[in-house]
Symmetry: C2
Subunit: 186 residues, 2 copies
């Protein structure tokens, strides 16, 4: 049998909630988190998704799917980070979203919590990574947390159980006049 991460691993039977980080400049960070959401949903595990950049009006494929599946997806951002015209508001939205999300860390009924693009509020200095890590480490032990976004801070990487870097090997079609494609890219 090939050594595949997609097959159940034989061996120790211990379970714990994982802290998973999908980072890097490539594609697939949020998308892989959505795949985990789908898997968990398929197993009947309660999942919630908090998005830190996308505005509440976002209605991408994942939002439409989540609505149909009954999975709570909460976007609360204004689509901006460092290029915001109102940085204080952008920061305030991120802090408000983190307050909401961190309250979920101890819910006994939640199995998977996705913090989408959550690296940016740390990267831009709005949230202290050490404080975030402390909160994440204080979560209910069986809760899986998935954090996505570029520039994952070292403290988060250090605390994580699994860190994957998505690297863009080839992405030529942007230069060919091809726009982002609904259904696969968003």
């Amino acid at each position: 049998m090939i050594e595949s991460e997609h097959q159940p691993v034989k061996g120790p039977r211990k379970r714990k909630g994982l802290l998973i980080v999908n980072t890097g400049n490539g594609k697939g960070k949020t998308t892989a988190a959505l795949g985990m959401v789908l898997r968990a949903w398929g197993r009947g595990m309660p999942v919630e998704v908090y998005q830190f950049i996308k505005p509440p009006t976002a209605n991408f494929g994942e939002h439409r799917a989540a609505k149909r599946l009954g999975i709570p997806v909460y976007p609360l951002g204004d689509g901006f980070t460092w290029k915001s015209k109102d940085p204080e508001r952008t920061k305030a939205l991120a802090l408000e979203q983190w307050d909401r999300a961190r309250a979920r860390l101890i819910d006994p009924d939640l199995a998977v919590l996705v913090l989408d693009e959550f690296t940016y509020p740390m990267h831009y200095g709005w949230l202290d990574p050490a404080g975030v890590v402390a909160a994440l480490q204080g979560r209910r032990p069986m809760l899986h947390v998935v954090v996505t976004g570029r520039y994952a801070p070292p403290e988060l990487v250090e605390a994580a159980d699994l860190v994957t870097e998505m690297t863009l090997i080839k992405h030529p079609y942007r230069e060919q006049g091809i726009k982002a494609q609904p259904g696969v890219e968003f």
Copy 2:
């Protein structure tokens, strides 16, 4: 606005079906493909998934979810590649699966076709990558195809519109006696 791959890109409006490859030794290759499946499903786009290694009895999170969503997922493998006790049968299963999958390349009603772990039959020499690429390039122009697996052959990478490498940065918990976790890993 941050340069995010998850937001619609302004600019050229041309559309085409993309050939997307998720490769590398890290996690998230199949998982990101599942995220695309979820997005496409959310937009009402017909999706089918052909799995080349997982056996027909596989009932992981993605299979359970797909069944509930009405997304066809066809596993046809015996869980083995080069360690197979019956290499001829393993190879025959892969060829049979490719015959089935390639027939879907021209279906006008299909929007997204996922070929999960399809790199392995090429890597192990059961399928000629040049022939596979020719078949993929002959697909219906608007069809998106997503190929996952390690060791993506150069011909496939060359032909692809988007190639992402998933790299394992950190994965310590296997050594801590933590087993693969249902719902997020499979």
